[in-house]
Symmetry: C2
């Protein structure tokens, strides 16, 4: 770990603390919800979402003024240090506004284009999941423990989850997903970013999603991979660099055997 990275790692925890402090009072309070697009499904942004990103951007501007930033709410800022922060202050807005706990603050750090750090922070539960340099940890109420995916020998033994049965899938994707899900032992249709923390912790075997943004995958991949899991697209390829408007489909698995079966079945049509 370079000293430049180490400084930023400690700082990343302060970013998560600050975002959590900002967001916490908004949870389960009536808040103004704005539709960003006139799409059929709701994609709300909240005061908490925007405010928390501003808090984090201001901190980065003070501490590391030449680092690049990509945030869900306020877009991109160029940098010159080789480091880029990727921020999603509230991932899982639907979970947030329906008073569930499956939303989280996503913070990632890339060094020269390589994903070096991912944080999934759930400030209400005081749970933070951190992936870095091939290892992941859960920090729950200040207690840090390593986390690992669990072994699972086949799809028929696997617990599969996705955030919603159809909102984020095309019709074709929905059918492909269902083909996999019906082969699994159990399915659950919730999770949002928090689902990946639970997969990395060994409670879920497979997550299949689509329409993930760069600020989603940037934090999720280090947490899952650090815990021994696999993240690819639906073809089984690694998730490469994404442009800021690009979405990706996504498969995360704890066990390579489940991953291989899932990819095969996703593409079986």
């Amino acid at each position: 770990m370079s000293s430049d990275f180490a400084m930023r790692l400690a700082f990343a925890h302060r970013l998560a603390d600050a975002a959590g402090d900002f967001i916490r009072p908004y949870f389960r309070k009536p808040i103004a919800v704005i539709d960003k697009q006139s799409r059929a499904y709701l994609d709300p942004v909240t005061e908490a979402d925007k405010g928390a990103e501003q808090v984090m951007r201001d901190m980065i501007a003070r501490e590391f003024p030449n680092d690049a930033i990509l945030g869900e709410e306020y877009g991109e800022k160029e940098g010159g240090t080789g480091f880029r922060w990727v921020l999603d202050p509230i991932d899982g807005t639907r979970a947030f506004i329906t008073a569930r706990h499956h939303w989280g603050t996503l913070i990632a750090l890339e060094e020269k284009g390589v994903r070096a750090l991912g944080i999934i922070d759930q400030p209400i539960l005081r749970e933070r999941y951190v992936g870095i340099e091939g290892s992941s940890a859960a920090i729950i109420c200040e207690t840090r423990s390593p986390i690992k995916v669990r072994p699972c020998s086949s799809l028929s033994e696997a617990v599969i989850t996705t955030t919603h049965p159809f909102e984020y899938f095309t019709d074709v994707q929905e059918k492909s997903f269902e083909r996999v899900a019906k082969s699994c032992r159990m399915s659950r249709y919730d999770g949002d970013c928090y689902g990946y923390a639970l997969l990395a912790s060994g409670f879920v075997d497979l997550i299949i999603e689509a329409s993930l943004s760069p600020w989603d995958v940037a934090a999720l991949i280090p947490v899952v991979e650090g815990a021994g899991g696999i993240c690819t697209d639906w073809q089984g390829n690694p998730i490469g660099a994404l442009s800021n408007t690009q979405k990706t489909d996504f498969v995360a698995a704890g066990d390579a055997r489940v991953h291989a079966e899932a990819i095969k079945r996703l593409n079986a049509a």
Copy 2:
């Protein structure tokens, strides 16, 4: 409130405390899972589930030996006092084993066949929802606040939830559910018993489910109705007395306008 009832109300909180103390260490620990039926979907019971019911039954036997008991795990015990306890130690086993927080301990008390008390307890979050005599309250980390459903003028403004998109529905029910869900502003496919606490707290407008057991509805109805909500079957009729093997379909709504529209659309085919 009769003094007989008041004594049992204080005792019901001790039952919930004891169940929570028993269950808490099992959450997120590897536990033995047993399939109760050879059905396609998983209906696991856990050591925590059975143990917590035994703890509660033992407490009732000591304190109110002539009260009747109906529990999900250990069935029925006749009584002679006019009071019956209805217990489901862990409702939402799927949520439990996938490390989510949407499960809860359900405790209800009937007095001469009338639902008099319902408790939805989430011991990990330290949240308890209590419905009694036409009012409901949330006790969150020891702080008690009254809860109320929120107004919602129409289905098109409503947030609808159900626990799973298809596991608990027949094919016909699934289509009916989808017809309602697609008319709503937003849908979410999780919640389990905890969803009813969130509806009673004003964060969700409509829940439509099927295959609920007597030990589910016994606790849910007082919490929802005490907060000003409505609970019926899919035809809009009150949920009457259920035999111990009987399941019921279920609609809970915060606002009568949403309830009326939902019933109409459920039966529109």
